[in-house]
Amino acid sequence: MRTREELQRISMSLEEYELAKSMLGREPNDLELGMIAVMWSEHCGYKHSKKTLKLFPTTGPYVLQGPGENAGVIKLDEELALAMKMESHNHPSAIEPYQGAATGVGGIVRDILAMGARPIALLDSLRFGLLDNSRTRYLFSGVVSGIAGYGNCIGVPTVGGELAFEKPYTENPLVNVMCIGLLKGKPKSGKAIGVGNSLVLVGASTGRDGIHGATFASLELTSESIERRPAVQAGDPFMEKLLIEAVLEALEKSDAIIGIQDMGAAGITSSSVEMANRGGVGVEIEVTKVPQRERGMTPEEIMLSESQERMLLCVKRGREEEIRPIFEKWGLNFAIIGHVIEEKIVRVKEKDKIVGELPIDLLTEKVPAYDLITREPEKLKELQVIRDIPKIEKYEEIFLRLLGSPNCSSSSWVYEQYDHMVETNTVSIGSGASILRVKGKSYLLGITTDGEGRYCYLDPYLGGMMAVAESARNLVCIGAEPLAITDCLNFGNPEDPEIAWYFVETVKGMSECAKRLNIPVISGNVSFYNESEKYTVYPTPIVGMVGKIESIDIICTPEFKEEGDIIYILGEPGNLGGSLFIEELLGEVKGKPSFDLELEVKLEALLLKAIKGKLIKSAQDVSRGGLAVALAECSIWGNLGIDINIDAEKSIEEILFGEAQPVVIITINPSKEKEIEQFFKDIPIKKIGKVVKNSFTVRINNNKVIDLDVETLKKEWRSGIEKWMK
């Protein structure tokens, strides 16, 4: 019999324990209970999200692998395929920012590697509290150096992502890491098949680090969490680099590897059980065969350790020695720790003694899936109303404040710490979606991550749609056709009906938009319990998206290109709901965001066609900080000014700082005015002015509201983060 307290330590309820016991038909021993607890944890078992995630569209003509494997895979051409996946490492990063973030990178890279792909790029979506808080600065700089320390060493460029600072993330930052990789031929699978075939553990030795990391990630953060620092793993990027090269070399030289699986959360337990489940077989593990770096480890510790830089292979019996020399050349362990058995169980042995035995389905298919109890928060209606907007005396002042705020300003302080050029494929980063070339191919790749917690907090359905739409729009703006989505859904405790409501509404919104734009969700991850005693994070879906640009000559970038070019806006700017402007002025997030899905579909189709037809010289999506900030960025990046006038019925605040979507700024050669207006006649299009040398002049209804020079904008924009991090 177990006590409630005993079970709570491993994030299991008494009810779940009783259920597991009745399914097993006996009391599990300590080892078995530990294995059940990790596999039934939210982190591994997706108990509260499984049913909702079925809403996502997951198929498409070029999808080679949808959700369910280590990563999703799409076909790029007859030769190449692309693997992609995003994952969160929020909890570990809240406790130990450097290692938490570093091991997040390590894990996602191995997911891509497990598909047989060479990792070619990383992106990071980060959320922190406000920078005036010293712990936030500690977490922020720790996370950034952790990503840099790991990513730079393994030689995979970190080419993008985004960053936001909002109070609800103060104690629970979000660290979402995305990786993409390229592979030739058929993607590999994380499955074990063929009775008698070997299970081989490759990579690092196993220690006591990270035991119960998966259950730790399935609890809210409390002041006691800090004492669970041992649940955070430590990373060794050099070992990971060796693992990447060894695995790729082994896959290239031998076809004896049938299955390959990352060993991440819940260590040997989850990797072996997942492989068995995918292959419809059982596995037997002999724990003393596992290379250990500490003495006296118990079978439970070995089965649950989350030591990093390890992978599990299923290798054809009798052909192990073909592969062993490759791993030994790279100085890595190559240990046969078990084999495939017919009976669908996981049997753990210590030498000849059976120390645990559990049915595979008890740990996989039969993990309880809960129906969420949802309730719309009562306070929401109140939140959606903006009562008094303080009178603005000087628009220039608030404009510069927004431009120089860490949420809008340059993130060079961050990305200059990342090696974003290694592999020599990086064509463009730092403005909108990132662009990578593919050696030997005429097409290029566009990649982006997006997701605004503010919008979802005020209207999760709309916010969910906007996360998908903004990613797609960012890709379209560079001339890329969106292909597939990977996502990370970051929420609080799903057992709270209001949070559950936010979760379900957000996923519904994302699914609706993904369906309309015809972009499948091929992989992803859910992170719940992102809350502390003081705060619950904003409901934050992060969308990672990859697109294809047909050829180098149709790449479109956001910066202004030439004096005299004509500036147009597509869509209808306005609406202060959920804007940074309101947050800056009122100190809180308020209002109802606005988004037009029908317009989005039309706008993206037309814009992509126009870019491919070379009608457009620059394109920039309007998001955080509204039209004024978006125009400023185009000026700063292009080192050119603007002279514009916007005739509008809406207020000056709404036009300048509203964040209604979709809105896109484009520039064209003056000779193409008629052509462009005709081309976009089915959607709102408005000519607002022209590109000039270095003054930044904005009039609304012919009243000058901003009159600055580009140098002033640059100064504010560049120092936004740096001024806090000196």
């Binding site: 150096s145 840099a148 320390g149 730079n152 060493c153 393994i154 030689g155 060794d236 990027p237 050099f238 070992m239 680099k241 060796l242 090269e245 790279w330 100085g331 060079s412 990305y415 200059e416 710490q417 990342y418 090696d419 974003h420 050029m421 290694v422 592999e423 020599t424 990086t426 064509v427 070339r437 050696k439 180098i552």
Partner: protein, 221 residues
């Protein structure tokens, strides 16, 4: 391009990560023969120029290049250099060359104590070397840097007075003494530099200044 065929050998330590980038430039852009040399091998037959590329040779947890200098291949590299063969060390390769004593000085942590990856401006101080003949003296070029430890230091600056080939121009990103970004040995056949020429050898990547270093090597042989 290039008159003759110059055979390049790229040394691969376990944690080297710019090996394939250099390989691509030499084979696909420069159209010259090139092969990888695993750090435990010692066959340098037929090689005209050895490249020690960037990366984290052995994880560099201790000090960049501190372990790599003991790698078996390094005694071959030393012998090769003593016979007058051309050796170029890029970034981590430069760090290894200083650790191995093939180039004077040392490379310490950046003054910011952070990794820096971005384009910098450089001035060509000497074009009379086999690595820089395609440049003009005093010419300003752009190349990217990407390192934690690029802060060049030497106890007496006079020792390298005439050996400086590249200097940071305008802004000094890492605190390097006398803005030193690249130096050559007395004999003029071993060259180390912090910037990554292989990352700026194609127009699509934003600059072709780096290619001129590889072209200079080909022209000199």
């Amino acid at each position: 391009m290039g008159v003759g065929r110059v055979s390049f050998g790229i040394v691969v330590f376990p944690g080297t990560n710019c090996d394939r980038d250099c390989y691509y430039v030499i084979r696909d852009i420069l159209n010259q023969p090139v092969r990888f040399i695993w750090h435990k091998d010692n066959d340098l037959k037929g090689i005209d120029c050895i490249v020690l590329p960037g990366g984290f040779s052995y994880g560099d947890y201790l000090r960049a290049g501190a372990i790599a200098r003991f790698s078996p291949i390094m005694s071959n590299v030393r012998e090769f250099a003593e016979k007058g063969g051309l050796v170029i060390g890029i970034c981590n390769g430069f760090q290894i060359l200083t650790e191995a004593g093939l180039l004077p000085g040392a490379l310490g942590r950046n003054k910011t104590l952070r990794f820096i990856c971005r384009y910098v401006n450089l001035i060509i101080e000497r074009n009379d070397t086999p690595f820089t003949s395609e440049f003009k003296n005093g010419e300003i070029v752009r190349m990217p840097i990407a390192h934690n430890e690029g802060n060049y230091y030497i106890d007496e600056l006079s020792k390298v007075k005439n050996l400086v080939v590249l200097r940071y121009y305008g802004e000094n990103p890492n605190g390097a003494l006398d803005n030193i970004a690249g130096i050559i040995n007395e004999r003029g056949n071993v060259f180390g530099l912090m910037p990554h020429p292989e990352r700026c050898s194609e127009k699509v990547l934003g600059s072709e200044d780096g290619l001129r270093i590889f072209k200079s090597i080909v022209r000199s042989l």
